[in-house]
Symmetry: C2
Subunit: 239 residues, 2 copies
């Protein structure tokens, strides 16, 4: 029997309309939809594609929010094992993931393990949350010569503030207070905005980060724009 | 008469299947599709949504690839003027843009000018090219505590190599030779990959950047992964 294939499918940041046509097609074609479960039945990615997943066989994939690498690795190994059994039986498996599968996703660990066991796995990109947050705020992430630095907020945000770049802090929920203090110290509070639960239930948009209250959701994206520099004169000579 | 609205629509990196359902709906609803034209009839974004644009009124928007800010500003002002005349007449205008409208797009300048003239403008996010390139390579952009730095390759790439982060160099086409020398100097050549024209005609995937020939396309994305550090011991204590 021909072996199946695993697709890591980015379903975008929350709004079901931000699913791509490709994700839609693959979810329709899939025999089994693998759904990450961070605990307490929290299956955000599944809610986004409820219409496409209706009636499909679901495979719940427990990926607890812990930092114990060995324990996590055992979780991913177990998920990979269950997926490979399905692939061996010729099934098409779509592992759904919030945003894009290459940006801080759990999927990528499963992807590597499935490839290592000799099966085929492909990544289907999606709209990352920071693009949706910038769109919701009506601002750019980066223009012209600007750089963009993407940082997981829970991992020591302090030392990145000296990097000359616009910044995105992902999953800022628990780190909001710390981040506010850091930005205030650097005089960057007026240049920071926040979007919580972008495109999802409980969406909150704060063009001014100073207005944010503690306890906003885990799915918070903070955008900090570098102060503008005067245009270098030499650029006038080109073109 | 009710005024129209401008949508800045990200159509994704090249593959027509990576267009979102929302972009699809808005392009169907639009009266006029505004198409950026970088010169020589090069309308990459239009090719991606040819099926949706068929039969629609098109507004060609010349945005020459120059760095003269004043001349460019006059181009954007003229485009904004023409779009606002359509909005005044109650039309819905969709300005299509490659990738995502908040990441190095021409659209954002038009967006600001249209808002400044008192009209409504909204951004519809899309899949950025770097997510599609990473997906095509089958690798992550960032995992766990890793950071990601996004850099326009044509703007002095040298000084960003000391930033501790995975890196994406956008529109690397003309800067390939320079980038190769820089990466070789830092011993990073083995950690770099390139995708040219991702999802478009002439796609080329180089998991090893060292294999890239000069003269690859303008739409090249280079991904450089930071060397891995040993896991800090304290992470074992959580969870």
């Amino acid at each position: 029997m021909e072996k199946g294939i695993l697709y890591g499918v980015g379903v975008g940041p929350g709004d079901p309309e931000l699913v791509t046509r490709k994700a839609e097609r693959i979810l329709r074609e899939a025999d089994v939809i693998a759904v990450p479960d961070k605990g307490a039945g929290e299956k955000t990615a599944l809610r986004i594609v409820e219409d496409l997943a209706a009636g499909k066989e679901l495979l719940s994939c427990p990926t607890p929010m812990i930092r114990d690498r060995e324990r996590l690795d055992r979780c991913y190994e177990e998920i990979a094992g269950r997926i490979c059994a399905l692939l061996e039986a010729g099934q098409i498996v779509a592992f759904i993931t919030l945003g894009d599968p290459t940006v801080y996703s759990t999927y990528i660990y499963v992807h590597k393990k499935v490839l290592a066991r000799g099966y085929d796995a492909q990544i289907i990109p999606g709209v990352p949350s920071f693009c949706a947050a910038a769109a919701r705020l009506g601002v750019s992430l980066c223009e012209g010569a600007e750089r963009l630095l993407i940082v997981p907020a829970s991992h020591q945000a302090a030392d990145c503030l000296d990097v000359k770049a616009n910044k995105v802090f992902m999953k800022a929920g628990r780190a909001i207070g710390e981040l506010r203090d850091l930005l205030a110290e650097r005089g960057l509070l007026d240049r920071a905005s926040l979007v919580a639960n972008c495109g999802m239930e409980g969406e909150a948009v704060y063009p001014r980060f100073a207005d944010v209250e503690d306890g906003t959701g885990y799915f918070s994206v903070v955008l900090v724009k570098e102060p503008e520099e005067p245009a270098p004169g030499r650029e006038k000579q080109e073109g």
